[in-house]
Symmetry: C2
Subunit: 375 residues, 2 copies
């Protein structure tokens, strides 16, 4: 039985460790005993309290493992990835850190390591599906990803709960979005171009420009590509009001003799409003549309995902859709279905029919179904 280690026992780390323990000898490591204690005791699952920001601790922990799954917070993610690659271990990464991972490609190849980056739902499955269609078609005209993690119950005023770090959510509302339009890289203001879209079982959602294409900008040859984030209608306007009024400003201001960044204070006030509380159900909605040409004919592929909180295991949908993509990627590596070396973006997995089928089938077994529509 192969040995897998999950770094980080947070919202996504926990269900991943449980899922992997069905097929592997799993260790899950975290600095917080409290987080580890929340994970049930299972036959193939070891819990290890450890400071994973300490390089030697990390090296020791991974030394006898076959595959590493990096689910650490963004600020620890990059260093952990680098260490794992240096140690010659294959790794699946969902730490979503801000650093540019591409600099580690040479090292990964030198160490004969497969390091699959950003292997969640979006980025992650969105990339796999675009890579998959890209391989099928002669050319792509247009690719667009719509994705959102939302609360099942809509509560005024925000009708939103943060399924990942609220600070990252605000970052998504302020960081300009990079798109491909007519073969050019263009930059649009975050929150711009709002549009209403209908989703089965959900109703109308509002999509806005966000900076989520990441590696796709460089790896997929398409004249038009964009990613938009989904929220319940009205959320964007409220956020835009705060942004326009200076509440998200990173420029410190003087207040009662203290120097304060408005963004930090706003975050402090908003986070309790956005906190997904124990037992609050969430949903994940994604639509990936790719239009292109095959044998001189226009063809379009569309993938629709609707997933919701698992009431039985009390697992959040965002943890399910993110985490099980990663655990299926671990199985894919373990079975030798994918053997490219270096820094691997998920769209590279999409090139391989077998890999895509394997991951989609595994997700379907776990109740996560991507509905394909070809027209």
């Amino acid at each position: 039985m192969k040995k897998v280690i999950v770094l980080g026992a947070g919202l996504v780390g926990k269900p991943m460790a449980i899922d992997l323990a069905k097929d592997f000898e799993v260790t899950v490591a975290d600095i917080s005993l409290h987080r580890l204690d929340k994970i049930p005791d299972l036959p193939n699952l070891k819990k290890k309290e450890a400071d994973l920001s300490d390089k030697n601790t990390l090296i020791q922990l991974i030394s006898d493992k076959d595959i590493v799954l990096n689910a650490l917070p963004g600020d620890l993610g990059f260093n952990a990835l680098q260490t794992v690659i240096e140690q010659g271990k294959n790794i699946i990464d969902i730490a979503f850190f801000p650093e540019e991972a591409a600099v580690l490609d040479g090292l990964a190849k030198e160490k004969n390591v497969t390091a699959i980056m950003d292997c969640g739902v979006a980025p992650g499955m969105s990339n796999i599906l675009i890579g998959y269609v890209n391989e099928k078609l002669d050319s792509i005209d247009n690719a667009v990803i719509y994705v959102g993690g939302l609360p099942k119950i809509r509560q005024w005023p925000w009708e939103y709960k943060a399924v990942f770090s609220p600070a990252d959510v605000i970052e998504e509302y302020t960081r300009p979005a990079r798109y491909v339009e007519n073969c050019q890289l263009v930059i649009r203001e975050a929150l711009s171009d709002p549009e209403y879209l209908e989703f089965d079982g959900v109703g109308t959602l509002e999509a806005f420009n966000s900076d989520g294409l990441r590696s796709l900008i460089y790896t997929i040859n398409a004249p038009n590509m964009k990613e938009k984030t989904l929220r319940f209608p009205g959320h964007i306007e409220k956020i835009a009001v705060l942004r326009a009024s200076g509440f998200f400003s990173k420029d410190p201001i003087e207040f009662n003799g203290h120097i304060i960044r408005p963004l930090d204070f706003t975050s402090k006030l908003l986070f309790p409003n956005w906190e997904l509380k124990q037992g609050e159900e969430d949903i994940t909605v994604m639509r990936v549309e790719v239009e292109g040409q095959k044998d001189g004919k226009k063809i379009s592929y569309r993938y629709d995902l609707y997933d919701s909180y698992d009431v039985r295991t009390k697992t959040h949908s965002m943890a399910r859709t993110t985490g099980y993509t990663a655990t299926m990627a671990v199985r894919m590596l373990a079975k030798g279905l994918f053997s490219e070396k270096g820094l691997i973006y998920p769209e590279f997995i999409g090139k391989h029919n077998k890999c895509v089928s394997f991951i989609l089938d595994g997700l379907k077994e776990r109740g996560i179904e991507y509905k394909e529509t070809i027209s």
Copy 2:
């Protein structure tokens, strides 16, 4: 020529001093030489730099004056009023201080002083008009005041500029509104019961419950009475979002080791957004509706005000409508048209046909017209 002193040379104090100098020997006093310097030099107008929070200074300044006009900031207003009454001087007050002025009624009567309170546009003209109709009718069934000071140019997101202290504006958004309903005093949440209304030359405005009845609750015998504030549609929702999210909380929170009231921080961020800048034009919109019975018949009176910034004299509409009500009240006292003693609420002026006509005519001469509709 009678002698009048204007206490305070702010937004409203300045045009009042200029207006009064047509008919009186006027002194305008303020702690800020800068504010005084903005007032043009006129034959009958003296400017006096003085700390009006100092009781002796104030006593000396008013000693040879016939009438005092109190336009000080709210925090200085009450003490100044008390001192003026103690000195036996008649006073028109538009300081809109939070203290309960009623406690000074006995003192005013003892000193044989007429002290007219809250003599602006609303409170002020709204009270005068309701007092006027109350005198004409056998009984009132319903009285409602809609009033708002707004920017002429609507700018997203707030479509609002504060024509008086922004802190008082936020207070209006948080302080519960006291109403009379079916002869009972009821309390409604601020911002509640939004409704759309049409106003000639303005378009649709949104009205919400605010705590503006003040003395009318006790002086007018009507089973139903309310005041609502007017804003451009959408403003209320944005404010309600901030309020619901804790941005107007007065409960201090700990932030980076500092103790901060969210309201104070929010104010600091919002005020620059709401600042009415040099040359920015404002409008004042008011509608007063009174329904009642006369000789067994239903009758309703409606007064509509639309006033705008005076481009020629660069005087804000809110300063015009507030200040000229007060300066006409000064003239009314000077001419001996009104001689009741004690604390006088403007609705008491409304009882006297001659006084109401005198004030309305004076306002009309100054371009401020209340259109009466009887049906």
